[in-house]
């Protein structure tokens, strides 16, 4: 009985993925043009290797 009344939410709703282009943010990658979409997909993470700074 309980199962029948259980209301499902979120069907068909995707995740929002906020990314930066040119310096500003875009609420979701869907708004990107094709070139920027591919660029975003190709972005690699940069490693912290050897990172030190002078300030204390």
């Amino acid at each position: 009985m309980k199962n029948e009344t259980t209301k499902l939410v979120g069907e068909g709703i995707g995740f929002e993925r906020i990314r930066r282009i040119t310096g500003y943010l875009v609420g979701t990658v869907d708004r990107f043009n094709n070139a920027k979409r591919e660029e975003e997909r190709n972005r690699r993470k940069h490693s912290l290797e050897g990172l030190k700074t002078s300030a204390q």
């Binding site: 979120g10 993925r17 040119t22 990107f32 070139a35 660029e39």
Partner: protein, 752 residues
Amino acid sequence: MKVIKRDGKKVDFDGEKIALAIRKGFINAITNIAYNEEDHNKVYQAVMEDIEKEYDAESEIPIENIQDMIENRLKSMGYTAIYEAFSRYRFRRSESRKSFQNRQHKLMKAIENLSLKSASEEDSKRDNANVDGNTPMGTMLQYGSTLSKEFAKSYLISSRISEAHDKGDIYIHDMDFLPMGTTTCCQIDLSKLFAHGFSTGHGHLRTPKDIMSYAALAAIAIQSNQNDQHGGQSIPAFDYYMAPGVRITFKKEFKQALSEYLDLMESTKKVDFDKIVKQIDELQSIDIKMSDFKAHFDKDKNIEKIFKKAYDTALKKTERKTYQAMEGFVHNLNTMHSRAGAQVPFSSINFGTDTSAEGRMVIKNYLYALDAGLGKGETPIFPISIFKVKEGINYFDKDPNFDLFELSCKVSAKRLFPNFSFLDSPFNSQYYKKGDPNTEVAYMGCRTRVMGNVANPDKEIATGRGNMSFTSINLPRLGIKHGLITNDKADMAAFYKELDEKIELVKDQLLERFAIQCSKKKYNFPFLLGEGLFVDSENLTDTDDITPILRNGSLAIGFIGLAECLTALIGKHHGESEEARKLGFEIVEHMRERCDLLSKEYKLNFTLLATPAEGLSGVFVGIDKSIYGIIPGVTDRKYYTNSFHVPVHYDISIMDKLKIEGPYHALTNGGHISYIEVDGDTVNNLEAFKAIVRHMHDCRIGYGAINHPVDRDPVCGYTGVIGDVCPGCGRHESEGIPMETVEATRNECASC
């Protein structure tokens, strides 16, 4: 008699129209001889006689024949300069008309795609991610934009320049706004607007009287100015501008709390309240010493207590109101629309250097509001928030605003904002004058920077200035033409020769557009110029020439794809080889030197810009692929690498990336940005985050940002990294889950 117009339509003959055409011909011609209405009339009478003679028996006359008669008369009556100008104008118009007609098919096709396809199907509807191409106003803007670009190409841009644009040698940004003569952007001095209040067209807004209205008016100013320009709006010193609002609010709250507490303790009569009010009104800071009020409570401990309590209350309430003001500001900038509702204003704010108690309160609460996000916890997209990093102010642990720098790092780790700008980098610090926030370099969120001023060396300030327009050069194509890819070895002499030609062409184009901009009047830009936002525009009248004002702006020469250019030239890009690094620097340095020479020659601010390239990112490479085919490392992707960036797909450490890109920031005085991409673990490690920002500082970056994935599940509200499954509620993308599960998640979230 009927006149046959160009489109074949017939209208009644009207002599007045001929007289006016002749008059216009005289007025528009540039000549040293002063002609007057009598001259206009003499030609008119002669032409009318000709028509009577030749067309007496006719019932129709083609418009072209009337124009021929005007030309003939101007020539035979000795008005040579007018004749030549008239004839040139006719020829140009007719060529433009032909060219425009030739474009009609293309135009219809473009409109068809905009109208009948959705944004997900049609790339051109996603040219600018800030415009939603699926909405009616978004589509309307795109219709206008499409038509306006074709009009500009046919009528306003020299054909050799529009050919270079269509061929992909250069790219004229925001061409759709070229006919309107708009300028790109402005760094708005809000304190000037607040001092006298301002008008947005339907009524006057008075000087704001508390922090809430300061923040509300700031949003309105941004929105209004956005309609007068085609780029974005930046606030150079948000903390300094908002601080007086905090002070006013505090004074009000202090007076009110004192009055209430005195009343409550039945002590009103024990003090001279008018005197207290006067003293509070004169306060220069919210950071006060109780002893300053000693005269009022000298012998009475209870009154002293009331003062202390009232002060605490006032501070707390001011803090609360400041938070609400900042929260409202962020909400406004993400919801208020401009440009016929097609876009939210492209807004940026710079802050971080005001060390006054009020300024600090603004910065802190702004960051808190940014951290909290929008109504459902969404990450605010606007304003682009820029924290100004400066030694002695917020960089070192002992600096007065160091705590706010740390807070900025924390918030940026969650919300991607703030970005960071670096006032100590030599090309920025050279303008810095202690105590004058106008001399602190500000950035437009997209990266544009306007600071140096050859046109007006007394005005080397950030405020009231902006970019006029910018146009970019296709560097990879020059690399392909003169590099290893198509020759035995790179021919650098030929490369530089053609690069100089392109710079010259872009210069001509920028000047051509600048002339259109300068032909406008104050009334064309009622907010930007009418309300005195642009530097020196306060005293303009409607008939004044605006050229001297606009000369304070920058004309930017941009570029894209240094990486692909280098690969085409010598087989490697600047991330990979020292040789490429040297050559890359040399090329960009060369461009900067050319810009400096042009600035000197024209007394105009030609600047070198590391182009933002959103719409452009895929344009050049698309054309180049068709011409040169797929060249590995050059044309094998859908985009060219942004400006001087090391390619995004290249594996490199943070340390090396910033060291390589840093030197280019000094060269690109029209604007620049460097990105670092990190994963979730790094971003949540405050020490690591700070170290990255400080490394940017050490590498003399001008403007930088740290990218990391910020995903959000709109169903449960979880914000963070989301792979295939939401860590908040456990659902897969597009999958439905029971409401109870979501609610349980929400409860958990509320406690953290």
